[in-house]
Symmetry: C2
Subunit: 497 residues, 2 copies
């Protein structure tokens, strides 16, 4: 049956597998050695450094039509990429809310990509593993086993999924079919002014619009003001809009404030609203017996968004959404297409389909790194690491308060410390000086704090979401902050920065 052309084509068939398996194996061993050496010695390097011009130049240029081989590509990586990480693996990286990762997590990513499953809900081990990991999260966060869930790219996507479920369950019309324009009344979501930006972004993306997010003031502890919230809901109802959900923050990104989740849950039940918790910052604290009481009420939420890649230190990306009512979750996303038709057996014959729980159809094997590191390390040790960060934040706050030249700018209920250099005598322009101070600390490679604005005042923000941090790191950071702050104050006095 084969033609001569067919035979010629067949003999030329080639895969993308290596021609030299032993060579790739040797390279793989070198990669493991290099990776572990790199992590083991991270403390000896700067917390951050900008890629120099030479590395930047080498990271330009056209698409490689001809391959240069794995060895040469790896050499380029070692020279131009590896030395310039974001820095969150470093013990003195405290910017934003970014996890550190772990060596075992990194090795496990190789295993996940070796199996390279598409975790869309086939009858395979990856699907079983995601089920198990979701069950673990339910158990750890006090959720019933009947709940549904999904591993997603991160907190932004988890909030989007949770709010999509809230919208669909509460709309009172078929929003999937008819769209938001068919809403009989404008729908309204409630959250505090401290809520994460991804909630507003989700409202935009969902076509509800940012105006449909009613931001409610916070109290002195940066928690949502419940009486103000109750009034907002009542006012909005009178004005003819339709409240549909409240977002509670289990750890705000600015200061780590935890809303009164019990009160929010009770209010949602009274008002018939969906209760969504954004726990990207703090929900994982539930793994620590010391921190769990602060999150009381979270377990009553209708949905919880959280981020294993943050305080859990599983490598990026690993976010998660849990939804109490599995039916509502599926009703929001489940689709049917001819080529996806269920089979009565074979690989597509399983029960669940993860694609019916969120926006993704093809999905990677996020569950493996969580499964492997949890099994190896245990949730107690992960929780203890979080409690350690909270104790370190309290320690830092106490040291800031003891320094007359520094000023603590917010309470420290979790692992985030906001303060600034005020000088003694006081600096003229504290905002400008502290802005310069943050850059100076980062550019010297000392540490990576980030910044925020609190009550109109620029704050240095230290988020200790880092299992490698020690108190000695915080001591060094404070020492250098004072030194650089004084230098900048002298310069300010002389009129140049």
């Amino acid at each position: 049956m084969l033609t001569a052309t067919d035979k010629a084509a067949a003999t030329q068939e080639a895969s993308l597998d290596p021609e030299d398996w032993d060579g790739l194996r040797a390279l793989g061993h070198r990669m493991v050695d290099d990776a572990l050496d790199y992590l083991r010695s991270v403390r000896e390097r700067p917390a951050w450094q900008s890629p120099p011009p030479a590395a930047r130049d080498r990271l330009r240029g056209s698409a490689p039509t001809q391959g240069q081989g794995a060895e040469a590509a790896y050499r380029e990586f070692v020279e131009n990429v590896l030395p310039y990480p974001t820095g969150n693996i470093h013990p003195r990286f405290w910017g934003w809310v970014i996890g550190s990762g772990t060596p075992l997590g990194a090795l496990t990513e190789m295993l996940a990509a070796t199996m390279n499953p598409n975790v869309g809900g086939f009858d395979d081990a990856a699907g079983l593993l995601e089920d198990q990991v979701l069950d673990w999260w339910k158990e750890l966060l006090g959720y019933p086993k009947s709940a549904s869930g999904l591993l997603v790219s991160g907190g932004s996507m988890a909030n989007l999924v949770g709010l999509a479920v809230a919208r669909h369950a509460q709309a009172g019309f078929d929003v999937r079919k008819a769209g938001q324009a068919a809403a009989p009344r404008p729908m309204r979501l409630y959250a505090s002014t401290e809520v994460h930006s991804s909630v507003g972004k989700a409202m935009e993306l969902l076509g509800l619009g940012r105006d449909a997010l009613h931001l409610v003031p916070v109290d002195a502890e940066y928690r949502i003001d419940i009486p103000a919230l109750e009034k907002a809901i009542a006012d909005d109802r009178r004005a003819g809009t339709q409240p549909f959900a409240i977002v509670g923050s289990a750890g705000t990104v600015n200061t780590g404030a935890i809303d009164d989740l019990e009160a929010l849950g009770a209010l949602c039940r009274r008002e018939g609203l969906h209760f969504h918790v954004d726990g990207a910052v703090g929900a994982l604290g539930a793994l620590s017996p010391d921190l769990r009481p602060r999150l009381r009420g979270m377990e009553k939420a209708d949905s919880i968004a959280f981020d294993p890649h943050k305080w859990g230190h599983f490598p990026y990306e690993a976010g998660c959404i849990l939804v109490r009512d599995a039916e509502k979750h599926l009703a929001t996303f489940a689709a049917q297409a001819d080529y996806l038709a269920k089979s009565e057996g074979g690989i597509a014959g399983g029960g669940k389909r993860f694609a019916d729980r969120g926006p993704q159809l093809s999905r990677g094997f996020r569950a493996l790194k969580i499964w492997m590191v949890m099994k190896a390390t245990g949730t107690n040790r992960l929780g203890a690491s979080m409690a350690q960060n909270v104790a370190q934040a309290a320690y830092l706050a106490q040291r800031v308060e003891a320094e007359k030249e520094l000023e603590l700018l917010a309470p420290v209920p979790l692992n985030i410390v906001c303060f600034r250099y005020r000088g003694k005598p006081a600096v003229a322009d504290a905002d400008a000086l502290n802005r310069a101070l943050v850059v100076a600390i980062q550019e010297a490679g000392i540490a990576v704090p980030s910044s925020t604005i609190l009550g109109g005042r620029y704050a240095i923000r230290v988020c200790i979401n880092n299992h490698r941090t020690r108190r000695e790191d915080l001591d060094l950071f404070l020492r250098e902050t004072l030194r650089l702050g004084r230098d900048l104050q002298v310069k300010e006095a002389h009129g140049h920065r």
Copy 2:
């Protein structure tokens, strides 16, 4: 300054790093050996097998409070997880549209998670690398360098981003602020009845609603019927709705049909519509000089969604969206929050912010696997692998047509072959028999085709998106399909299946 309690706490500080680095190193080396052996020998194993009850039992159970160590966790993985992959790494996996991955891609995932950057747009190597990789895709797909882009989780997210840009650019009002309810007229999107399900899902999520997606019939080659599309747009305008975009498919998921992208682009320009291409199935064919002409017109699109993790064989997840007009892209997503305020230097002092281009804020290092494998392998070889799959599909189609008991059900313009067993004499219930046949082929571990419905008829669907496939695999598959088909036909005749 330190209290006794502080000192005690400080001495107890512990990271999540291994206590025994050398032990983890030895384990890492074993993982590399096991992973490469596993991929090298994949051909010797079944294309798919269902996890047996014993493995399922071991993938249940509570969250591990106490860690058992990396060694023990890895042993469990090797025993209960590794043997039961989805199967897309196997040379005879042709279900859905799923890439195979590569050994180097898998090793590179370990490196990405070792650096563990948060690719949100910091001044680091990961950001530079994503820029470079995006520039490569622009170049390879014929896009101008001034275009914008983003690596995303996959085609579903890429389509969502592209359609969000289209909606925002075309709305004529501030949809981010006011939401879809503020639209003066109902907005309409156009695509063929063969368009991927993620487009409808995106419409639902965006609050436009599934009804706003106007599905247009296809011609005999499963390409969008352009006169019918023109009429639909004109009718909709007359009815007072607002057409805003057309989605062209560069490879439909059912049959690999490529819409007439040149004609669609011209129509969009005439009508003032956004032209989005869903190229998840076929866009990467642009890497092959043989396939590139079939995609003519794609380079004129306003946005292109495609999937490096499919035909590019980069490990999951790696999707991509390109947007011709960078301003429109940013205008759709760019946000500002206090704690994200731009700095004039330091780690946040770079120019770009990837979070301003899509729904994610925290983002993993997807660029590295693309960069590394492209450098090592070269785009020519990747393109040749795709052309090889197209030639193999043509070969399979030709063999199907030569077999009287088989029936080709659709043209084969790319790498997808839809056919079925009809028998000779003809089977009584071809739908039921072929449904059972697909399950039998999968459960015997022979191969993994999927299925679809074409013109109301159940089809066995073979999507050769697999760099390990050889013609001998297709021969074996056909031989077994005929054997099992005949068996099932005998059983059908005896009234039991």
